[in-house]
Amino acid sequence: MLTVKSIHTYYGNIHALKGVSLHVGNGELVTLIGANGAGKSTLVNTICGLIQPRKGVIEFQGKPIQSLPPESIVPKGIALVPEGRQIFATLTVEANLQMGGYIHRHKREQIQEDLHRMLERFPILNERRQQLAGTLSGGEQQMLAISRALMSRPQLLVLDEPSMGLAPLITKEIFKIIQELREEGRTILLIEQNARAALNIADRGYVLETGKVVLQGEGTMLLQHQEVQRAYLGKGAKQIVDA
C-alpha cells in the first residue's frame, strides 16, 4: 500500500533522513521505533507531504506522492494522527470530528453516519460531545485525535507517538484501541518511542537510528532482539512500561 524508497530529507543543511526505505502492506500494522531525534517524525512529515524529500520515491497505491502537498495527500487516503494530538481545543468534540471528515464535506449523510459510529465506539467522547475538546483529558484527546483521523475514511492511518505524555494505564488503553483497529483490517503505520508496547502489537517493525534504518523484521522478533532490548527496552523496562 505504502512504499518508501531511499528517501533523503533535509532541514536546511541537516540531513535528517539518509536513504530510508520501508513499506506497509495492506492490513498490516507496521511500527517505526527509534530514539529521540532519530528521524521518526521527519519520516511521518515526509510521508504526509509536510516536508518534501530531496531524493527518493514515496508510492501510495502504486502512485508517487512525494511531491504532493498535504492537502492532496489526505484525499488519497492517508490520515495522520499528529504528535501531541493537535486537536482543535476551542471547538467541541463533535465539531472536531466533523472537521476530520472535511474532505467528504459534500456527503453530509456519510459524515453523520461516521460521527455516530465514532461516538458509539468511544462512549466517553459521546458523553462529552458538546464539551470543548481542550477540556478533555490527555487520553480522551488522543481518542478524539484518532477518531477525527478515521472520519476521513483513510486507507492508511499514520499515528505519530500516540503514547506521548500519557500515563501508563492510558497508554495501555490507546494501544488496545490501535490493536482493535488493526483487527478490523485497517492499515496502520505507528511511530513510537515506547518500543515494547509498539512491537507487542505490530506485525513488523523498523528501527531508525540517526536517520537510517538499522534493523527491520517481525514485531516479535525485534522484541526479542538483543540490540533492541539493549538500546530501547533497557534493563528492567518490563516492570515500568508493560503496556
Binding site: 524508497k5 536513504g19 538499522v214 534493523l215 523484521g217 540490540e227
Partner: protein, 434 residues
C-alpha cells in the same frame, strides 16, 4: 506439497525487490557501523551506504568478498555483533591457511532453521516424516543446519551423522526412516551396501532423499531414485553465507529456489568480475540480507551456475539456480568439504621445508569418492631406506587428515611422471564424473 511460508515464498517480484532493498540498506548500515573490514573498504572507494545505495543495482559498485578475506579475518574480525550475542560458531575445513569462522545470533539460528524448513518442505518433508541426517555434526554446518530445520518442520530427526553404513541401514530399517539427508554419493554407497547385504530397498519406508554437499550428474539422480525408490531433491548451502538453506529444489526438480528474501544473488564473470545477466553461466555471488552476526557482502562462492527466471509451477516466486556442476577456482569439493590444492602443498612443504611436486586426484570407486595425492619422488625429499619412506608417508597422511578432515591416499610416483601442461603439473585432476 505444502509451502512452508507461502506468503513469503510466493511474494510478488515487486514486493520482493522492495524487501530486498530495505534489508540491504539495513545490512549495509550495520556492517558500515560494526565491521571495520567493510568500513575500511567502503571508505577506500568513497561509498557511504546511507548516501550511495538508492537501489539494488548500486550494490554492484562494491568490491567482492573472497574466502581469503574471511580466512584472513580469523577468527572473529568480521563479526558484526559482540561475541556475547553470538550463540553458535561454525567453521569450515581448513582449505585456506586459517579456517573460515562464522557466527550466528539467536535470531540468525531462528532464520536458519526456518530457511532449512522451507527447503525440506519443498523437498517433500512434513511433520509425519522420520528424517535420518547423515551429514557430519560438528563444526561444519551441514548436520546441525539440516537438523534444526527438520525439527522446525516437526519431523522426527535421527541425528546419525556420518559413516558406519551398516548401522545407518539398520536404523533406516528399524526406525522406518522416510527421508534421508545425505550427499548423493553416500546415497549410492547405502544402495550398494544394501545390495551386498541382500536387503531389498522396497522393504524400507524411504520416500525422499535430500541431497547436498557435492557435484552430481543427472544420471546419478536417476540411479538414486531407481535404486532406493525415492524422490531426489538437491539443495545448496555455503557456510560463509549460512550453511544449508540458501537454495533448494522443489518436487518439480527443475533447479533450486534461491531464498531471495534472505539472500541477494548475482552471477558474475569469474575472470573479469563483471556482472552477467542472471541466465548466463557464471560464478554465483551472494549478499546476505538478514544475517546479523556474520553478514556477507558480495561473497564469491566459486560455484558456477545460472539463475533461471521462468516461473516455477510449484507457485514459489523465488528464482531458481541450476545445479552446481563445477567450480571456477581450483577448489575441490568432496564430501561437503572444500579443498584448495595449493594448501595441500603448504602442508607437504611444512614437513621437509621443500615443496614436493604433487598432484591431487579425486577418484570414485563404486560410489565412494576418494582423494589421492600423488607425490613425485625427488632425492631431497625421499630417502632410499624403505622404513623412513614409509614413516614419511604415514606422517603426510596424518597431517593431511588433520588439515582437511578427509583421509587421503599418498602415492609416490617417479620424478617427471606427473602429467604436465606447459611445464607445470596440474594440481588437481577430477576423475569422478564420467
Amino acid at each position: 506439497m505444502p509451502i512452508w511460508e507461502p506468503q513469503k515464498e510466493c511474494v510478488s517480484r515487486d514486493e520482493l525487490q522492495q524487501i530486498q532493498l530495505e534489508r540491504l540498506q539495513a545490512t549495509l548500515n550495520r556492517v558500515y557501523r560494526n565491521v571495520s573490514f567493510y568500513r575500511r573498504r567502503f571508505k577506500e572507494m568513497d561509498f557511504y551506504p546511507a548516501e550511495d545505495l538508492a537501489e539494488l543495482k548500486d550494490l554492484e559498485r562494491l568490491p567482492f568478498t573472497t574466502s581469503e578475506d574471511v580466512s584472513n579475518s580469523y577468527p572473529y574480525e568480521m563479526f558484526a555483533v559482540p561475541l556475547r550475542e553470538v550463540v553458535r560458531v561454525h567453521s569450515s575445513s581448513g582449505t585456506q591457511t586459517n579456517p573460515r569462522v562464522v557466527g550466528y545470533t539467536r535470531q540468525d539460528l531462528n532464520n536458519w532453521s526456518n530457511l532449512v524448513a522451507r527447503i525440506l518442505s519443498a523437498g517433500g518433508v512434513t511433520q509425519d516424516d522420520v528424517i535420518q541426517v547423515t551429514f557430519g555434526y560438528g563444526l561444519l554446518t551441514g548436520g546441525l543446519g539440516i537438523h534444526y530445520g527438520a525439527e522446525r518442520v516437526g519431523a522426527s530427526v535421527l541425528p546419525t551423522s556420518v559413516g558406519r553404513t551398516e548401522r545407518q541401514i539398520k536404523i533406516m530399517q528399524d526406525f522406518r526412516t522416510t527421508v534421508m539427508a545425505s550427499t548423493p554419493s553416500y546415497a549410492l554407497v547405502i544402495a550398494d551396501r544394501m545390495e551386498k547385504l541382500q536387503i531389498n530397498p522396497r522393504t524400507l519406508s524411504l520416500k525422499y532423499c535430500i541431497c547436498a554437499g557435492e557435484p552430481w550428474a543427472e544420471s546419478m539422480r536417476q540411479e538414486i531414485e531407481e535404486r532406493l525408490f525415492v524422490k531426489f531433491t538437491d539443495n545448496y548451502g555455503v557456510s560463509e553465507v549460512m550453511g544449508p538453506g540458501v537454495a533448494g529444489e522443489c518436487l518439480e526438480q527443475k533447479g533450486m529456489h534461491l531464498q531471495e528474501d534472505h539472500f541477494l544473488c548475482e552471477i558474475i564473470d569469474p575472470r573479469s568480475g563483471e556482472v552477467l545477466p542472471p541466465q548466463e553461466e557464471g560464478e554465483l555471488v551472494i549478499t546476505t540480507l538478514t544475517k546479523e552476526a556474520f553478514p556477507m557482502i558480495r561473497y564469491r562462492t566459486g560455484d558456477v551456475c545460472r539463475i533461471l527466471e521462468e516461473p516455477c509451477p510449484c507457485g514459489r516466486t523465488f528464482r531458481r539456480m541450476s545445479p552446481i556442476r563445477e567450480r571456477c577456482d581450483s577448489v575441490v569439493v568432496m564430501k561437503g568439504t572444500n579443498i584448495i590444492p595449493e594448501r595441500i602443498g603448504d602442508v607437504l612443504e611444512e614437513l621437509k621445508g621443500a615443496r614436493p611436486i604433487y598432484q591431487i586426484v579425486a577418484i570414485r570407486e563404486g560410489h565412494q569418492d576418494h582423494l589421492e595425492i600423488w607425490v613425485e619422488v625427488t632425492e631431497q625429499f625421499f630417502s632410499d631406506r624403505m622404513r623412513e619412506q614409509r614413516t614419511l608417508v604415514e606422517v603426510m597422511k596424518e597431517k593431511i587428515v588433520n588439515f582437511i578432515g578427509i583421509n587421503a591416499r599418498i602415492k609416490l610416483v617417479e620424478t617427471g611422471s606427473l602429467e604436465r601442461e606447459n611445464g607445470h603439473v596440474r594440481l588437481f585432476v577430477d576423475r569422478r564424473l564420467p
